[in-house]
């Protein structure tokens, strides 16, 4: 199909899609007029039932916890797929990182940059942990905090070089934190079954509303998700970094 024909085809399809979307969206209640009865009820009861102040966490990890379980496995699947896709192929080799190669010396970063990276990455670890652990009280939680934790590694790379990252980045630990996070969620769900109730029942003591440790399984699930997301995004970044920094196609005919 030529570009012109494709654009014509798109114009027709997009017009049809726009009409369909328009009809569908016009049938929605007007913007800001009402929220669903389900949400009103949950806003009302979740503080009393689950001893949390952030209703979004209560829904993500308790009332609709099974959805989050599947979302987590989509994440695990995507990270696994990236690892498989970006592995060194048979016609590729791992070469010395370019910033250490003898013919292309890049000056090492100054101590000031290095210090800044160390400071910034420890600050990011602290912020990430704070976000993960306070998910039941204020906006935040495992998904957001996990990405912040993973970004601490990126900062080390920015401030130093590939060698340092490789030394301080234990691959086995990252991979196991990804897996342990994903299956920890399932395990905490099984606790409900062991207590003789349904999967993902909140069987742990609920604690006092407003305390950092309250809400039963919700902070625990936040921790497992934080572990999984941090591990997943760190693996994801290191796979791409490996591709850029060290993996080279072997020269000569294939």
């Amino acid at each position: 199909m030529s570009r012109r024909a494709r654009l014509m085809f798109f114009a027709v399809a997009a017009a049809a899609l726009a009409v369909t979307l328009g009809v569908g969206l016009a049938g929605l209640p007007s913007f800001g007029s009402q929220v669903s009865a389900y949400a009103r009820m949950l806003n009302e009861v979740s503080g009393r039932q689950r001893h949390v102040t952030d209703v979004v966490s209560a829904i993500t990890f308790d009332y609709r916890g099974i959805d989050t379980l599947f979302e987590e496995f989509i994440l695990l699947g995507a990270v696994t797929g990236i690892s498989v896709l970006l592995r060194p192929l048979s016609d590729e080799t791992r070469q010395l990182p370019e910033d250490k190669a003898p013919d292309r010396g890049i000056p090492p970063p100054s101590p000031a940059v290095w210090l800044l990276a160390v400071f910034l990455s420890s600050l990011l670890v602290l912020t990430g942990l704070e976000t993960v652990t306070h998910g039941t009280l204020t906006p935040g939680g495992g998904f957001q905090g996990g990405v912040i934790l993973a970004s601490a590694l990126y900062v080390v790379y920015l401030g130093t070089n590939y060698r340092t990252v490789e030394r301080y980045q234990p691959d086995a630990l990252l991979e196991s934190s990804d897996g342990v996070g994903a299956f920890g969620y399932v395990f905490i769900g099984l606790l409900g079954l062991m207590a003789g109730d349904v999967f993902l029942t909140n069987v742990v003591g609920l604690g006092v509303t407003g305390n950092p440790i309250s809400g039963g399984i919700i902070p625990l699930l936040n921790l497992t998700v934080g572990l999984e997301v941090a591990g997943g995004f760190a693996i994801l970044a290191s796979e791409f970094l490996d591709q850029t920094a060290v993996i080279r196609t072997k020269t000569g005919p294939r």
Partner: protein, 80 residues
């Protein structure tokens, strides 16, 4: 008042989203996409969704630009 803020955020998102698509050079697009992500986070915040705004900030500011830039660096090195 909050309606005005939301309207401004909506227009910002629509305009910057269009700019992301129309910027054909991936390197420039990464920067425009950052601006689009910031607009989305601002829109979510103005609609009282703090949790979603936080995840949009971490993804839009950290994860997405990093992946785009690393993929481009890889492609560029292969071409050398």
């Amino acid at each position: 008042m909050s309606e005005v803020i939301i309207a401004v955020a909506l227009i910002w998102v629509a305009a910057s989203g269009t700019a992301v698509v129309l910027t054909r050079d991936p390197l420039r697009q990464a920067f425009v996409a950052g601006f689009f992500g910031l607009g989305l986070a601002f829109l979510y915040l103005s609609m009282q969704a703090g949790d979603v705004a936080l995840s949009q900030i971490v993804v839009g500011a950290i994860a997405l630009p990093l992946i785009v830039l690393l993929a481009m660096a890889k492609v560029r090195k292969d071409r050398e």
